[in-house]
């Protein structure tokens, strides 16, 4: 039986009076790719950010790799090292070169020695197809290249789980493919992934499970072919017909 990487029980999150997540439950097994879909404001990004503790839950349980994480008592920095995150707007460090972006956390968080960190960073840049950009500053890259560097940067910490928060939403259409290809490759290597996206093609092809969120709740979930081809809920049908 596969290891359970993420278990979320009755997760609640509010911003002021606004209830963004209402008792959400979610399980992610090892090497599984779960894609979260839903309209903006449905809570999918907040859910993702709660898994990484960039937002702190108001209620419920978050279990990462079998260990319940309590933000008050756990060292969240340690947890975040195991849970990589890729952002919509890349958030590369503009004052560092591509290589330095990838090396920064291994050097300063893991205290890895410089030659090892550099070697690994170069290997990761090779993996995302950007070996020739190592010494360039992020401002010189296209959006697709930036996002691939951001993926390499997250992978440099050797996370067990990768979270993607709308990784292609800020990209020009012609640049989406290269980022999705990198993510697909990662999925095929067995990375556990939770992906918030509007790319239904990617969801159909790569996801093990697709989760449709609406109004802070998980409305429907299932294998991609079930959810896309035979959604049970009216809302899901409406949402899918509005975007396809």
């Amino acid at each position: 039986m596969k290891k359970e990487m993420i278990r979320i029980e009755n997760l609640k999150k509010s911003f002021g009076d606004l209830e963004v997540l209402k008792e959400v439950n979610l399980n992610v097994q090892e090497s599984e790719v779960v894609v979260l879909i839903g309209a903006s404001g449905s809570g999918k990004s907040t859910l993702l950010r709660c898994i990484n503790f960039l937002e702190i839950k108001n209620g419920g349980r978050i279990v990462i790799e079998g260990e319940e994480i309590d933000p008050k008592t756990h060292n969240l920095n340690e947890v975040r090292q195991r849970v990589g995150m890729v952002f919509q707007h890349f958030n590369l460090f503009p004052h560092k070169t591509v290589l330095e972006n990838v090396m920064e956390a291994p050097l300063k968080v893991k205290n890895q020695n410089k030659s090892d960190a550099e070697q690994e960073a170069k290997a990761l840049l090779g993996k995302v197809g950007l070996s020739d950009k190592a010494d360039v500053y992020p401002a010189k890259l296209s959006g697709g290249q930036k996002q691939r560097v951001a993926i390499a940067r997250a992978l440099a910490m050797k996370p067990d789980i990768m979270l993607f928060d709308e990784p292609t939403s800020a990209l020009d259409p012609e640049l989406v493919g290269e980022v999705l290809a990198t993510m697909k490759e990662l999925a095929q290597e067995g990375m556990t992934m939770v992906v918030v996206t509007h790319e239904m093609g990617f969801a159909k092809e790569v996801a093990d499970e697709v989760v449709y969120m609406h109004d802070g709740q998980i409305w429907e979930r299932g294998k991609p072919e079930e959810l896309f081809d035979a959604p049970k809920e009216e809302r899901t049908k409406d949402f899918l017909s509005s975007i396809l």
């Binding site: 952002f87 958030n91 070169t97 956390a105």
Partner: protein
């Protein structure tokens, strides 16, 4: 009244004296700006910390400094610190540093807050502590943005150091006033000392511009 030949004569003749004053002014400015930058950074971090007590301390400090004349602050430091056996130079330096610090705190606070929130999140998501992300990711970017207003504040600090003449420190301005009253030729000496300040400010502006260019290389 405006006899250029005379001014040049006095300029050449008074050059060794003014060099001594210039040296004091430079030391005073350097020390007070340096300490002021450290103070400014600390209080800026207090202000953005989200910790109420630290916030209050920073706000009170900035309100006190901004709400009172610099000359009053210098005298308070002078008389206060003289009792502890601290020299006029160091009490002027501390007074100016505390003064500059309040303004620099606001400059740093603004520039830190202008860095995109995603930068801190990216750092934290990689497992960095708040302090590490602040030091490695946020502050280098904030410092770059702070440079133009910081340079401006340094120039103000340089000119403000002339107020140290009131506590009998022999810096540039006090050389001009003592020489002026000794020779009854105040205007000439005031013009000369004005020139010294002008040249210092121009040189300093050049330096800041060079630094700005260097820091923005690559981006």
């Amino acid at each position: 009244m405006f006899d250029l030949a005379h001014i040049l004569d006095v300029l050449v003749e008074s050059y060794p004296l003014f060099m001594k004053g210039l040296w004091v002014t430079l030391q005073l400015t350097f020390v007070s700006v340096l300490i002021g930058t450290v103070i400014g950074l600390i209080f800026a971090l207090f202000k953005i910390s989200g910790i109420k007590v630290l916030n209050w301390i920073a706000n009170i400090y900035i309100a006190l400094i901004r709400g009172t004349p610099l000359i009053v602050q210098i005298f308070i430091f002078y008389f206060g610190l003289a009792e502890l056996g601290i020299s006029a130079f160091w009490s002027a330096a501390f007074g100016l540093a505390m003064h500059n610090g309040a303004y620099i705190a606001e400059i740093f606070r603004g520039s830190i807050q202008s860095v995109d929130k995603g930068q801190m999140e990216a750092g934290r998501s990689l497992g960095m502590t708040y302090g590490l992300a602040m030091r490695r990711i946020i502050l280098p970017q904030a410092f770059k943005r702070a440079l133009p207003p910081l340079g401006n504040q340094f120039i103000i600090g340089l000119k403000d150091s002339s107020l140290a003449s009131f506590i009998a420190l022999n810096e540039l301005f006090s050389i001009a006033t003592t020489q002026g009253s000794r020779t009854f030729d105040e205007m000439t000496y005031l013009i000369i000392v004005g020139l010294y300040y002008l040249i210092l400010v121009l040189l300093f502006t050049l330096l800041v511009n060079l630094l700005e260019k260097k820091l923005s290389a690559g981006e």
